[in-house]
Symmetry: none
């Protein structure tokens, strides 16, 4: 699990880094708000530990700017000893939790783990045609409830057919979209992949969802059990 620690007190920052690394986290450090914001934008952290008092851009602003950019990495804010209102405000600017200084290391770790546990994936929608389902982000494919293993090329071809489900797509179209534009090999390769796909997604289920349209190309139709 990879963390970003944004803290300007160098000594504290390094001690946090060492401590958290001992607990098995991978830790990057930013020493001011501007850096912190940039790093949080560029890299996919699992959580961010964010001091409020920072030179340049303070913690509130870092947090709210992240949220504006639609980055929802969990944020744990470090607040001053006696700032009750700070804490309420921290949560309002989009922090997920806060910790009052000074804090014990065990507490920091426990809170971070709680944050990470809450996690949350929300996924882009699957492509569907009948009982055939594709998840492009995971390169996974199902017919009904049984998963089907596809190679990268196979998946790409099927993905293209599925996004154009119901329509006829020519071999040229498929070549242009799945292979590089400069591909000038044998168009027969499309036929080969259609064969592979039929063997994997149709024959075992005794359906024929990839239809040949002679002289024009292929058409994927919705089929159900």
């Amino acid at each position: 699990m990879r963390l970003l620690v944004v803290e300007d007190e160098k000594k504290l920052a390094m001690s946090l880094k060492r401590g958290l690394e001992a607990d098995g986290f991978a830790v990057d450090v930013a020493l001011d708000g501007t850096d912190g914001l940039w790093m949080a934008t560029e890299h996919p952290y699992d959580a961010i530990v964010l001091d409020i008092m920072l030179p340049g851009l303070n913690g509130y602003r870092v947090c709210s700017q992240l949220r504006e950019q639609n980055i929802w990495t969990p944020v744990l804010m470090l607040t001053a000893k006696d700032g009750d209102l700070d804490e309420a405000e921290a949560l309002d600017t989009g922090a997920d939790d806060f910790l009052r200084k000074p804090f014990a290391h065990v507490v920091l770790v426990a809170r971070l783990r709680a944050l990470l546990r809450r996690g949350q994936p929300e996924r882009p929608v699957d492509l569907v045609a009948g009982d055939l389902r594709l998840d492009p982000s995971q390169r996974q494919c199902w017919r009904g409830s049984t998963e089907i293993e596809l190679t990268a090329r196979e998946f790409s071809v099927l993905e293209f057919l599925t996004t154009n489900a119901g329509d006829v797509v020519s071999k040229r179209d498929i070549l242009d979209h799945v292979w590089n534009y400069d591909f000038d090999g044998d168009p027969n390769i499309v036929e080969v992949y259609v064969r592979h796909l039929r063997r994997k997604i149709d024959e075992p289920f005794q359906v024929a969802s990839i239809r040949t349209v002679r002289g024009a190309g292929y058409r994927l139709i919705a089929t159900s059990p």
Copy 2:
């Protein structure tokens, strides 16, 4: 929003009740742990405010017994002034957050709202995939009932795979989350660690929970004996 306050100091309990009701919550009060546990079991609260120091059954036990009964109502624990360890333990027994006494009313409300916003059942502390179980706080790992010794790196890689169980994660993802971002060594190191993990968590049990997805990465799937 309906809350349960479990607090034995009658004066504090009533003041909490009045304050929270003024903020628009519906509030029930239990004056000891046994009552609290019973009420939390019988009624569907949206959140529970739970004191640690209680006659009869203390707060930790109330909380862990709730979790054992598979009740994942968000719990906010009230801890003593100086109990750092209390707090870590609170989170470990399944609390979602805690607040150190004495606290300002605005903070209590802000934290409760944050909890309610997160809503939704919390997952148990351990990461689980089939009969493989990880405890990130202890860095321990079991397959069924036999414990498996892992090094720090091995654990981190497996932890990341497990939090994304079922999904394909690329070698780049793994490098980004487990190593520091300035790591620019050979990605082959991921393969090496996958090899180590397979030898420890799969081969002795004759399962294959870490699948290779050629060209895409790795995928951890749930396997059982």
